[in-house]
Structure formats: structure tokens, C-alpha cells
Symmetry: C2
Subunit: 355 residues, 2 copies
Amino acid sequence: MLEDKSPQLTPVSELGEFGLIKHLTKRFSLQQPSSILGIGDDAALLSAEGREIAITTDILAEGVHFNLGYAPLKHLGYKAVVANLSDIAAMNAVPAQILVGIAASNRFPVEAFEELYEGIEHACKHYGVDVVGGDTTSSHSGLVISITAIGYGEKESLTKRSGAQPNDLLVLTGDLGGAYMGLQVLEREHSVFLVNPNMQPEMEGYDYILQRQLKPEARTDIRAKLQELGIQPTAMIDVSDGLASEILHLADQSKIGFRLYEEKIPMDELTIMTADEFNLNPSIAALSGGEDYELLMTIAPSDYDKIKNHPDFTIIGHATEASEGCYLVLRGSNELSKLTAQGWDAFLNKKGKED
Amino acid sequence: MLEDKSPQLTPVSELGEFGLIKHLTKRFSLQQPSSILGIGDDAALLSAEGREIAITTDILAEGVHFNLGYAPLKHLGYKAVVANLSDIAAMNAVPAQILVGIAASNRFPVEAFEELYEGIEHACKHYGVDVVGGDTTSSHSGLVISITAIGYGEKESLTKRSGAQPNDLLVLTGDLGGAYMGLQVLEREHSVFLVNPNMQPEMEGYDYILQRQLKPEARTDIRAKLQELGIQPTAMIDVSDGLASEILHLADQSKIGFRLYEEKIPMDELTIMTADEFNLNPSIAALSGGEDYELLMTIAPSDYDKIKNHPDFTIIGHATEASEGCYLVLRGSNELSKLTAQGWDAFLNKKGKED
């Protein structure tokens, strides 16, 4: 879209700032009973209907969080929404509304905004979420997307990071590392493209991990599954920065330690094969890759029978006393390696070279 | 701050992204009973306690909404909060929480973030508002600030833009045009500074209008005053883009027209004198200047006696049927001039030249 220099593209100045916002947001109608008033007033009006409100905000900058060279604007809009809904899901709340702020340089024509909003709309429809507020502005360079998401939940079912207890089981949804390996493939093909724009990118066979990177999903389905199982997690967090970093957050805020078993970390076959291709230990992709948007939670040990062998959940470790620290139990041995926000000690140098 | 090249400044990389957020947000403690959980989890938790929720978001970009050449970061932080609280006040709701998103290039040292957050903190203390969420990221250039504000109000007392009726009185708080004239002074002195950095800027005597531009206040006091007077506005909006533009918003959403009387528009003596100095019609500053953050409302004609001669409110016109359009009644005559978002027809050319 940005490469297209065709004269049909519409400069934002043709619509003006108010015109652009009106044009982009007319596609959104309100579906949620908690959305009382949407876009078009000084503020939106919402009703919590006796529930508590979960609210989160993210700011994404071009060149830092995304590269328009290989992330289509439509996917980017979708992913920006998903990243925020994932935070709401991590509170065990039901997402219901978002507000969207966009600052973009005037190299972005109206059609680029439309593409971005198409992705936002697609995500909102998929997750049943209303867009109730928005602000769009020009900036002197680059694209910055800020999304605020709101969700609701009953006070007693909401999950913070701080409720885990020693001996709780550490449980993960889905599999990890795919988004990171997808990014490696995209970056490799983008480098090839930059050297020779006539080369066709080799994306075939990487579908699953490319989707994990470009169009991830938020686990808003997990709340109902936990309810069905009769499980109330003691703590929960979403995996946006890599498993190691999230475990350390839970440990820090619950004042406990963790044992994580490397061999238990669920990974897709394609993630492992692609890691091999890049000469990378796949556990690195899981531990420090990030952007998988799975949910990591702790549950009481007495819930073990309810969750074992469930296809959506994998037990990957357990909580300990804080004094025991946070350690990875290495695959095929009982050797312990201290977890750090960057991954884990034993592989730090290796990872440093590969980054 | 940004001009200071002294070696004591701390690069953001020294703290890291998590470290920076922790460092900047540790100053915020929760004061509002509706703030259940603040910064540090996947989302903040709020309780509406049976009231409706008003929520708004703004995105401000360097070079578009502010110029760091003359807007100190501390004032910028303060003003960014005020602009959002003003939107909450315009819904007749009580602001209670904000979330802050900041994207800044790495030319900003930690001390620059601190200064910005000092202004944010100052505004939050002044208005009794909690910071419950935040995201800070590096960007490839410039500074972008995104603020989301949340407030609460009883369903029946909230004011939308859409409730005005023909014959309602058009009422304004405070005075207009000051922020725009303050900007003219700042831009003039900044131009002088760019030509000769040794020249001292001439700011003396312009205090009121400089404050209106650099450190405006939100009219969160008006809700209680209206309650005391027993007045429920039929519609309300804040004056962020200029009086003309806001009147057109009310007209559009309430499906009515307006007569606005030029001679009734309240302006401070200094605003008028400075407009004279710049050879500008002061009504232009009021009608299309913006950033005054006063509240513009409509009230039932039967409320006239309650509000006449009140020092905080000025009746500046009245609503008509939609078919009668939106017109300014020019000073000293009964001549009508059509209101446009840019100001009004009769002066458009003049304004065009002066911009």
C-alpha cells in the first residue's frame, strides 16, 4: 500500500481530520449491551452493570513494534487489537470495547488508514468488541498506534498476577515460540527482497508460524473453558514478552518462586523445525520470543485432575517458596538454570549472538 | 531539557523499558475509591459503583499539537491530562482515572520523561485523578502522547451533544481566545529566539494568556456549580477547537440551528489587547482559536433566572430550528454571518491571510 505511487490515492488533507475520523469510524456500530454511547461525543459512555472494569492501554511504534516492509496494515490493525484483548483475557475478564488512537505522517494516504481500520474492524467483529472512541492525527514521521481496551468481570473471578501460592501448578494454553520463528522467516525474506526486489519470498510451508506472527489471536475462549472445568486460576498473565519474562512477573508480584520444566514447554512441530533451520534452540523462541499471546496461569494443586490431559492446557511447572528462586529444569537432566528476563543464563551468550 | 547536553543525563537504555515504566510510575498511588488495582498487572481494575462510565482518548504529536521549542515538558504533561479531563467534564461526569501512553525517540533521556511525568502527576494531584495504566516505548522520531481518561456520572445527569432543543439558551463558562493569543506570543518570541538565541524573550505582561496556552485548566468545577443552581444542561461540549466548530457539533448532533451574538462572547482584556497588537480581530481568536477548554452548553429557557448574572456563566446565544442554520450576529449590527468550522464567512479571507 505504501509502495503504491498510483495517483488514485487520496491525501488525508482532502477529508480533513474530522472528516477522516468520521469516514473511518462510520463502519462501527455498537453491539455490546455495555456500550451506551460510541464515537462522536466528548467521551463514550459505558455501563459496567455491577461488574468490575478491566482497562489496559498499549502504544505501538513503527520500526520498534512493527515493520511495514512485511507487516500488512490490515494485519497490523488486527494484531494491535488482539494484543490488548489478550491483556483483558489475562484478567479473566470479557473484552467489550476499545478506543483507537492513531498518529501517522502524511505519507499515509486515506487508503492506508482504511486498510488499518479494516484490520481493526475485522478483529472487533471476530471478538464481538465495540470501537467506542478514536482519535486520529498527523505526525511528523512514522506510524504510532495506541489502543485502550475495556472488559468486565465479576469481582471474585478476576485474576491478578499476585495471587499465586507455593505448590500451585504453572499452566499454559496453546504452544509457544511460533510468533518468534515467524518473525525470523519474515525478516530473512525481507532482507532478500531488499537486496533483490525481483526475488519471490519463500513463505510456503511456514503458514502456522507466519500466522502466529502476523495475525495472532487472543485467548478470550479460555475464560469459559476454565468456568466449565470449575477452575479459578490463582494468578494469570498473557505471554506477550516471552515465557521467562512472564514467569518472573508472576513470581515478583506473588512473592514466590517457580520451577519450569523445559521438556514440558509446548511447541508446534513447525516451530521446532524452523528453529533447527535457523540453527536456534527452539526453547529460546518460547522463553524469550514473545508475541504468542497465550495465557500463563497458576492453579491450585487440587485442580490437577480437572486439567490433566485437557487439549487446551499444559502443566509446565509449579510454584515454590520465593527463597527457592525461579529456575528452568533443563531437558533430559535435572540440571537447574536460573531464569532471567532475557531467557535463561545458560543460553544467554548464544542468544546474544543470534539476536 | 532537550537542549541540555550535560553528561549527567541518563539514557533510557540504562533502565530498560520495564525499568523506565516502574521508575516513572512509582510516584502514583491510588486515591479514588473506584480505583481497585493500578499499574503493574495486565490491566487496571475499576469499579463504577452503579454509575455510568465516560471514557475518552486523545493522541498528541510533537510538531502538530505542541512544539518543544517553547512548551516545557512539564507543562505539556499537565496540558495533555487537562485536555482529556475537559472531555470528561463535558459529559458532566467526574474524572477519576487516566492511562498514559508515551512513544519517544531515544533523544529523550530519562530526565525528559521525568519532567513530562512530573506535569502529569501535578495535574492528577490537582484534579484528584489516579494514573492506573501506562505504556512507554521508544519510537524512531518525535514524541507522541496518548492519554485515556475515565470518569463517572449518574445516568440521568450525563450530558451528550445531542440533547439541545430549539429556544434553549447557549451558555459558555469563562472566557475565550486567550490560549490562541498566548500561542501567538510564544511563536513570535520563539522566532526571535531562533534568529538570535541571545535575545531575551519578551513575555512580561502576557501572564494570563500564556497560562491559558501552556497550563490550561479543565472546568471540572462546573458540574457542582450546575448542581447547586439546579440546572441540568440539555447538551454540553468542551471548547477545544474553537467556539464556531463546537457550536456546529452541537447543531449537527442535536439537529438544530444557533444564533450566536458576537458582542456576548466573553473575552479577557489582555486577549483583546494582544489581538490588537497582532492586528487581529479578537473574535477570530475566540471562534477558531481553540484550546481554551471552557464548557459550552445549552440549557432550557426556563433556567434563565437561575444563571443570569452568574460570574461563571455567560449566555451567548440561543438554539433555533435546524432550518434556520447557524449564524453569528455581528457586533453593533443585526447583520448575520454564517458560522463555519474555520470561524465565520465574513472574516475567512482576513483570517486566511493572518494564519
